[in-house]
Assembly symmetry: C2
Amino acid sequence: MTVISDMRDTASRRERSVDRIIHILEFLHGHGEGIRVGALAKALNAPRSSTYTLVNDLTQAGLLEIASDDQRIFFGKRMYLYGLNYIRENSLAKRARLEVDRLAKETGETSEFCMLQSGRYTIMYMRPGNRPFRISSAVGLQIPIPWTASGRLLLAGKSRAEIEELIADEDLVLPDGRRIAIDDFIRAIADAQRDGYCLTKGLVDAVTQCLAAPIYGADGHVEATICLVLPVDLSEEQLGALRDRLLQSSRMLSTQ
Amino acid sequence: MTVISDMRDTASRRERSVDRIIHILEFLHGHGEGIRVGALAKALNAPRSSTYTLVNDLTQAGLLEIASDDQRIFFGKRMYLYGLNYIRENSLAKRARLEVDRLAKETGETSEFCMLQSGRYTIMYMRPGNRPFRISSAVGLQIPIPWTASGRLLLAGKSRAEIEELIADEDLVLPDGRRIAIDDFIRAIADAQRDGYCLTKGLVDAVTQCLAAPIYGADGHVEATICLVLPVDLSEEQLGALRDRLLQSSRMLSTQ
DNA sequence: GACGAGTGTCCTGTATACAAGACATTTGTC
DNA sequence: GACAAATGTCTTGTATACAGGACACTCGTC
């Protein structure tokens, strides 16, 4: 039965609106900007009429909004408000947010709280430091796992096969065009697991290094990370002090 | 036809899952904390079996999460990530966020960006100031409109009937038990509209005053507000300077 | 001004998603 | 340890939500 249902052509069959909604939201998230309803239907390979009614319903509920100028639809105010509930009430997120604020204040450096969600790496919360840095507005965006120190920690404990399965080939290419060898990457994951932290230099850009520490869940696996975004030209002592402070936060958040 | 459909008993009829989903999310937002599936179904007067399948679908999609300890469901990570898209991409929200950060930095005072959504007042974004204040974590929560200076501006231009319609009776009662007379409230709205800003003292608590300025939309109505949360014991000059600075932000955000 | 491509709305038949209810477990209380 | 009140899963029939397609508009483009 499952075999048949898995095999049948998914292209054109009646679909529940729940699934349609989930697909719409996931598409918009990946797309990153507004899209007209017609184009949305085409992109999802969904019937136009159904898409129109669904989008209208979601828009009326405020989950989506239609740009008044070009009629493109995108996430709405309500979606934002609903989402805030998560970061406010979720136990780990709540504690992590406070700790990131504290860490940024004490060290003066940009601090972040990061997680993996369905194989994608995301900065969940960030507090900028005192340095006159470019403000990265990457909060909430999906970032290739190999680009980050946190990513190496989050994959700790996974087998080579799992890792290869999880990492898309193009994600191994850095913004400047360099390519990370998969063997180096897997070695870095093992190192990070052994050391209990991870430091990466000049990955996303040449002037920053990233120092990340794991946050362990109840079952002992790495549930999230907390990390510092630093300039590359720090002394060994400075870096060591920051690492000790970061590991303190890491332990604090790991112990339930 | 519409009359009949409006009149029929809404309690027990087949409902589309879109509507069920919207009701679930809206309920959770109002409820403010997790709830078991059974209780959710009862609260929404929805069939248990449908509620289970829907909640399971939404949980698998990450829009909802089930607390591992007591099986309560609440908003999930994905919902948060989707919501971040709004604040990142929405034109007004994007500009307002930057301006709030700038305002907080320049003045050293807690600054907020507020909106009305389906008759409820909400702090959309906040940046705390330098004062050792209690941090209000009311971002994203629904707050009674009469408790706030921004609320008075957001109702500008509405008729008495509309205002009475919009304000629930219990919302006129302040946290300390005092009750705002509806006539005073309506007068305050007119004053705020005339002055182009609004100052309220000791409404939510005795030691703070709130200074709010309107952000006008393309059609000339008050679309949002930007405001400062201040201690009550400021001098006239200090207050005047802050007001001028705030009105500058207000104009900046109003002009598309 | 004819044409193709797109948008948004409405109608209709039927495949199927939903509601109801049964069942096996778990949980808490006396 | 008996009982009531939950939870979570599964099956089934039928009311209806969805897909398809038609229609009337609005664009640009040649």
